[in-house]
């Protein structure tokens, strides 16, 4: 009998904590050794972590970076509830049961090489992961990405003036994520908190600046990708609709199995056949924004 191709695509690993850094705003950068997950993960995927032996449920956390060769996986999360607060106490050398990679990844399309990535708060990690896959290889890339990251608490990295010029953005907006800059990925930061060099406004306002600066032909080559709080995603979807751009969003929801078994983590989407409940874990977490925000 032919079994589905999905068999054996998610790995349960006893992952060692390699490093765990605390950042302001209860943000944590966690690096774990999970080689099977690292080798298989694609941008948009997440891991389902056993944060503490006392908790009956795992916690889904999106992947920010992987190194398939070394086998590590980077996660950025904010301690917001009991599970993530207990996770924050895990120290290097301890082990975390890790289930991953899980989820349908983002899909970039060759006919739309101007890839606009918008990440807000703990929605930043999937955008960094997607950006890493668009890095120029050997000085050449078919992709022309722009990453816009927003945060209302200090960014979990030290922003620095970007070395990459981005036409169409206000000249004073120079703050960038060093990692992306080093990869040669144009990027800028936005916040309402008045952080130096950041755009003073919402990520969608900065994205609008850029979109309005493009001519019709260039704008026709844009596809939008976003992850962040629900109101931000709704605003991104409105912006994409206004400019008639395709848009993929990554969602989150309380989750139990993370494998499609319980249908606990659903989102209602519009389909040609009418409304449907889709599982964020395996039908997503990446969805067509127009199906979610109708």
């Amino acid at each position: 009998m032919n079994h589905p191709e999905t068999r054996g695509t998610i790995f349960l690993e006893d992952a060692e904590v390699l490093s765990h850094q605390a950042h302001p705003g209860d943000q944590y950068l966690l690096r774990i050794q999970a080689p099977e997950c690292a080798a298989a993960a694609r941008p948009g995927a997440f891991v389902h972590l056993k944060c503490d032996p006392q908790l009956p449920m795992r916690r889904p956390i999106s992947i920010m970076r992987v190194d398939a060769k070394s086998g590590w996986v980077d996660l950025l999360y904010k301690a917001v509830g009991e599970g993530t607060r207990l996770l924050a106490q895990r120290r290097p050398g301890e082990h975390l049961s890790t289930l991953g990679p899980i989820g349908k990844p983002f899909e970039v399309h060759g006919e739309r090489p101007r890839v606009l990535l918008i990440g807000g708060g703990v929605g930043m990690p999937p955008m960094v992961f997607l950006a890493s896959s668009l890095r120029p290889a050997g000085g050449h890339t078919p992709w022309a990405p722009l990453v816009i990251l927003g945060s209302e608490v200090p960014f979990p990295f030290q922003p620095r003036p970007s070395q990459i010029l981005v036409p169409g953005l206000p000249p004073a907006v120079i703050a960038a994520m060093p990692l992306l800059d080093d990869w040669g990925i144009p990027n800028r930061l936005a916040s309402l908190q008045g952080y130096p060099g950041c755009f003073d406004g919402y990520v969608t306002d900065l994205a609008r600046h850029w979109l309005e600066s493009l001519d019709d032909q260039a704008r026709g080559q844009v596809e939008v990708f976003a992850c962040g709080p629900h109101p931000m995603l709704a605003a991104v979807a409105r912006l994409a609709r206004e400019f008639a751009l395709p848009c993929q969003v990554s969602l989150e929801e309380y989750m139990a199995c993370g494998l499609g078994g319980c249908a606990g983590c659903v989102v209602q989407v519009d389909t040609p056949k009418g409304p449907a409940m889709k599982r964020v874990c395996v039908d997503g977490p990446v969805f067509d924004a127009y199906q979610v925000f109708s």
């Binding site: 054996g8 349960l12 099977e36 449920m57 599970g83 199995c257 993370g258 494998l259 319980c262």
Partner: protein, 322 residues
């Protein structure tokens, strides 16, 4: 590690051959294929897999949030989201590998007639058995509204009995006064076995919004928090089942081989796994091995020797000391 197909674990359940006494519970493993995504997971490690609750017509289910962690457990209110029995029979069952395990349909409905019709359609399919879900706490009609009324429970079971000669497993609710009386009525109506217990109704409240966390306002509580309740219910239903040699799938908060053994001793012939799978999708292997280890250490040759082996304390007359 000792896993499936250990002869000490192989058993017969209502005429079906189970490779192990473990049953993956309805609503936890989708329609039988979802967990195979995990490398190392095999349906062969379970004696049977109960498919997601199925109704006559497709159902969207409840609005989110549908799940929420609580102390030593979780609440869920999925609301029987399913694509309808015809889709399940036509499009899903042919994709399942029946050589791996026994697949049990979970029959749900809002009326007695719907239970009958869903059962009838599954009867005309390769499904091995049917579990009658008269205890779903998360739908407005049917479900637990039937399960908490012994007469209605019996009517539903009798209707399903008319629709099939395949094994009928009645899933009993803990949210009722006398579970043993209900079990007796369901047996007389034609039930072949019992699942004991379904979830207990509960609520969680968000302090900021002062609203229930669960979109359905209330949900079913599962996980280790309910294990002592489930053990007692299995013990009570076993008192009804013993003389009729009617088997029970004991379930409710099983997380380890130790838990599974307790259910067997209380009177279960098989043991259901639900919430524990969310935590450890490969837990079947661990529990199978743990049961074998216990059998070896206690000089037992087969898992069935444990069923109902509970030795109750003799009850001395109570003398009031006040």
């Amino acid at each position: 590690m000792i896993t499936a197909n250990d002869p000490r674990l192989e058993m017969e359940f209502c005429g079906m051959r189970f490779g192990t006494p473990l049953v993956l519970l309805s609503g936890c493993v989708g329609f039988g294929e979802e967990y195979t995504r995990v490398k190392g997971f095999s349906n062969r490690d379970a004696g049977a897999v109960c498919l997601k609750g199925t109704t006559l017509e497709p159902r969207l289910g409840n609005q989110p949030h549908r799940v929420y962690e609580t102390p030593a457990g979780m609440l869920n209110a999925i609301g029987l989201q399913n694509p309808g029995v015809d889709f399940v029979v036509r499009d899903i069952l042919p994709t399942l590998d029946f050589s791996e395990t026994r697949f049990i349909a979970n029959v749900s409905g809002s009326t007695v007639e719907e239970y009958y019709e869903v059962t009838r359609r599954f009867d005309d399919s390769p499904i091995d058995a049917m579990e009658i879900n008269i205890s779903c706490p998360n739908v407005k009609e049917g479900g637990v509204a039937f399960g908490n009324d012994p007469q209605m429970s019996a009517r539903v079971v009798a209707a399903c009995r008319r629709a099939t000669s395949k094994p009928l497993i009645v899933k009993l609710s803990p949210n009722q006064t006398d579970i043993a009386a209900n079990a007796r009525g369901c047996l007389e109506a034609g039930g072949d076995a019992f699942s004991v217990i379904n979830t207990l109704m509960g609520m969680a409240i968000d302090l900021d919004s002062r609203t229930p966390v669960i979109g359905n306002n209330q949900g079913g509580l599962s996980g280790p928090a309910i294990k002592p309740i489930a053990l007692l219910k299995v013990h009570q239903v076993y008192q009804v089942c013993r003389e009729h040699r009617v088997p029970i799938i004991g379930q409710g908060g099983v997380q380890s081989a130790r838990d599974a053994l307790e259910f067997l001793i209380a009177g279960a012939s098989a043991v259901g796994l639900g919430t524990a799978l969310f935590y450890d999708p490969l837990i079947c292997k661990t529990i199978n091995a743990g049961i074998c280890d216990y059998l070896g250490r206690h000089g037992l040759s087969h898992v069935s020797q444990l069923t109902g082996s509970l030795r109750l304390h003799e009850r001395p007359p109570v003398v009031c000391g006040c």
